[in-house]
Symmetry: C2
Subunit: 160 residues, 2 copies
Amino acid sequence: MHIRPAQMDDRSSIWSIIGPTIRAGETYALDRNMSEADALSYWLGDDRETFVAELDGEIVGTYYIRTNQRGGGKHICNCGYMTSAIATGRGVARAMCQHSLVHARQHGYRGMQFNFVVSTNTRAVSLWESLGFEIVGRLPEAFQHPTLGYVDALVMFQPL
Amino acid sequence: MHIRPAQMDDRSSIWSIIGPTIRAGETYALDRNMSEADALSYWLGDDRETFVAELDGEIVGTYYIRTNQRGGGKHICNCGYMTSAIATGRGVARAMCQHSLVHARQHGYRGMQFNFVVSTNTRAVSLWESLGFEIVGRLPEAFQHPTLGYVDALVMFQPL
């Protein structure tokens, strides 16, 4: 697995990964109907650094890292990760998270926070826990899941 | 106390309230050195509704309400409140919060979330608890207080 900064050339590959996840609407609090342009503007925004993960020369995952709060909160970072459906179960999310933790430490962040992990995304919750994150908050029925209705969202945190 | 939507004319009054709070840097995760223009752009942003509280014809407080997350999270709102130092202890924050809860219910929100309440701001924490909010999360050392160093931040929530 090779993880590197995203380039402008990667936009269509990135959309092929984030598009289906956004359209499914089961794991991210983003408008399911957002346009490709809006989704790429969000994922590759000026306020964040975006990376891609390659496996056998193909982009199979992407993540961003950004500062979570301003001012007195700027020593904590936030990340979002998405993996291609075809590469599920091959350790792509784990590798990206480990990469982001190294990157965050190198850049002097003192903690990493996930603001909104959908509680029914148990695969992700278990993965983040195995990588050192703890559930530090539970937002009751804060996410409307397309098939399960209102479900809790979790705040997860790891000091660095 | 009269609470009404903020007008363009209120900008200097609003700055006279939010400026000292931002410069103090003790309660909001905002850059202490942000310019007046940036602070007003933030407080009066297109993504939120902003109100002012008047006492004897003078603006003594201001708050905003906005949608906290997009997509499946858009049924939860978020607010920020600031009170003039000279009006502290006169129930301005309480009145604004009560106003925001009514406004939120009228607009169909199903919950109100405060993402980042500095734990040393005990006056605010007690006030929000007395108005029905619960601490649903604790972010360890997520805020660098200008005199107290790294302190916890709290996530507070109220279903509506």
